[in-house]
């Protein structure tokens, strides 16, 4: 794969997405859920960034904000040099052709009242790309590309297995020929055997079509398999960001260390030293002072409670947000 270090395809700068909490009779805004609170990263063309974290840490919201499915509060998203957040809603269509999303739930992401041809052909119809028999031809091509038989054209989602549905979801996402695909936990709802098929299909498509992925997941083994770089999110912030092997071999942030130590090792008898995190993930509506991780961090000290370390580069390409990382 060609690396173009200088021109990232996607550049996210200090992105913030807050959801208002309304209370009372008049719907007064009582506070905000800070789902994404200052996230920055860049993805180079043809590469995959894995975004991991616990449920509720805001990783899905990052993906949806990039696609303008939820409004951002502030920040900048540069895609191919153009600022995504500045595009007026009426002129989003050209952007939609460039970036697409596939979803976690294979049962909820396909309209149950539409057949496969309509589902996969809809983007082509909406964008006026193809009609009639040429649209059908394109749908057949897309289905073949994701390993489904064209005989399924008139089938409905409930007649497919989870893995097949995810393939339909991929075909729909690819219909417009995008450069960039947000994969929002595409395999976490699938059986392990089907997971590998879908992951391999995604990697295969990346190699063939030169796609760039933002791969959101909570399964670290899957992320290690598919990603070039990995970013770890905690409570709306990225706490560590590094090339895949460096992150997995030599994690700096205590949260990443705890996450990695939780991966089960398929070797009976091997006793592993686990870092067991205590306590619950704090509410993003009321995040703790200082470092958001300090209430659960085994290394926390007074300084962590008061001020927050920003993401700093400790080695080349290895960023972490922790005072203790230096030591």
């Amino acid at each position: 794969m060609v690396s173009a270090e200088n021109n990232p395809l996607l550049e996210v700068h200090d992105l913030k997405t807050y959801f208002p909490i309304r209370a009372g009779f008049f719907g007064r805004i009582a506070g905000y859920v800070k789902a994404v609170d200052g996230v920055s990263f860049r993805i180079h063309p043809g590469k995959t960034l894995g975004l991991v974290g616990e449920s509720g840490c805001g990783k899905t919201t990052v993906g949806r904000t990039i696609l303008r499915l939820v409004p951002a509060v502030s920040g900048r998203i540069l895609f191919d040099g153009c600022d995504v957040l500045q595009i007026p809603p009426a002129r989003l269509k050209p952007l939609r052709r460039q970036m697409q999303i596939m979803f976690q739930d294979p049962y909820g992401s396909l309209n149950p009242r539409m057949n496969v041809e309509t589902i996969v052909g809809e983007p082509l119809k909406v964008h006026g790309i193809a009609s009639g028999s040429s649209r059908r031809q394109r749908v057949v091509e897309l289905l073949e590309q994701v390993g489904l038989s064209p005989r399924y054209l008139d089938r409905y989602p409930h007649e497919f297995s989870g893995g097949q549905r995810q393939r339909i979801g991929i075909a729909r996402a690819l219909a417009l020929g995008p450069k960039f695909l947000v994969c929002d936990e595409p395999v976490s709802a699938l059986d392990v055997s089907i997971q590998s098929q879908i992951i391999n299909l995604l990697m295969d498509l990346q190699a063939r079509l030169g796609l760039t992925y933002l791969f959101i997941a909570h399964d670290l083994a899957v992320v290690r398999h598919i990603s070039d770089e990995v970013a770890v999110m905690y409570l709306g912030r990225i706490v560590e960001h590094a090339p895949r092997d460096i992150l997995f071999e030599h994690p700096l942030h205590p949260y990443t260390q705890a996450l990695l130590s939780a991966i089960p090792v398929p070797q009976p008898g091997l006793r592993q030293k686990r870092i067991v995190l205590t306590g619950e993930i704090p509410s993003p509506a009321n995040p703790p002072s200082g470092c958001p991780f300090h209430p659960r961090c085994p290394l926390a000290e007074e300084r962590c409670r008061q001020e927050q370390q920003v993401l700093a580069e400790y080695e080349k390409g290895h960023w972490a947000a922790c005072w203790k990382a230096a030591t």
């Binding site: 949806r64 939609r96 909820g108 009242r113 409905y156």
Partner: protein, 336 residues
Amino acid sequence: MLGPTRESNSNEHPAFAGLEEQIPPGRSLWADGLRRLRRQRLAVVCFWIVVLYLGLAGFEFAVELFDWEKPAFVRWNEIVGPSYQKPMESYEWTDEQGRSCIRRAWMGTDFMGRSTLRRTLYGAKTSITVALCASLISLAIGVPLGAAAGYFRGWIDDLIIWLISTLSTIPYLLLLMAFAVVLRDRTFWGIELRGITSVYLAMGLTSWVGICRLIRGEFIKRKESEYVLAAKATGCSNARIIFSHLLPNVFHIIIIDLSLRFVDFIHAEVILSFLGLGETDKPSWGAMIDAARAELARDVWWEMTAATVAIFLLSLSLNLLGDALRDCLDPKLRMD
């Protein structure tokens, strides 16, 4: 890097080559629901009973509209025997031509000597016209308002919710009567509201709250679903999302609600007629029951019975059919 996968592989395997032709075509949720419905014998019976009622009403309507030659059972106005002739008993009668004959009225006659059976059959037309028109009016108001409120939220939602809450604080029957009284025998924009027109207008204008709330709730729920997000991500317009993604997915709810609400409308028509606000110059079940108030004291039970049985049979069939529809059309309630 990976070629064909197991899922697609099995289909192309030579051993499965013959099977390919036998794979049935895709079946939509609608087709699937109807197939399930056909398997329930009771629902099928109820369906045909409802169709019979609708057919009868349609026929009576067509006869009046196109001025066809009326078969005997449609001539409800004809005097066929003496006043309050008991059912199933034969009697001597002189018809219009002056010929004397022996006759039998299956369900007896009313005080003017008109056949109760014919009047009951005609009542189906009155009831079904009212229920159908009221349903259409309440759908035409409730569905768009509910869809707009659920999809756009914000001030549109606030406004519609305010309207709903205001309407639902007034007791339904009082509201219905108020509308029926106000609309009765008035002329709006050159259209005269006579007889049952004001009845179904009143019902339609007061009963859209339920369906509106239902649709609003479904829209709020489904708006956040991943298939709607996917449609947004591909660049579908709001209109497209509402009409081709959301409405088809709540349509079965509209149908189920309609089949159950139909019964309420028939009952409401009976109540309004009973209170003297409904149809006055043509037979209706409510008017027949109203007349029976005085008749029961004279041991004339057949008019009351005929109207009640007709209402009972139609209500029961509609209710059972509605329940069966709910079981079959709602994908979440599917048992297998």
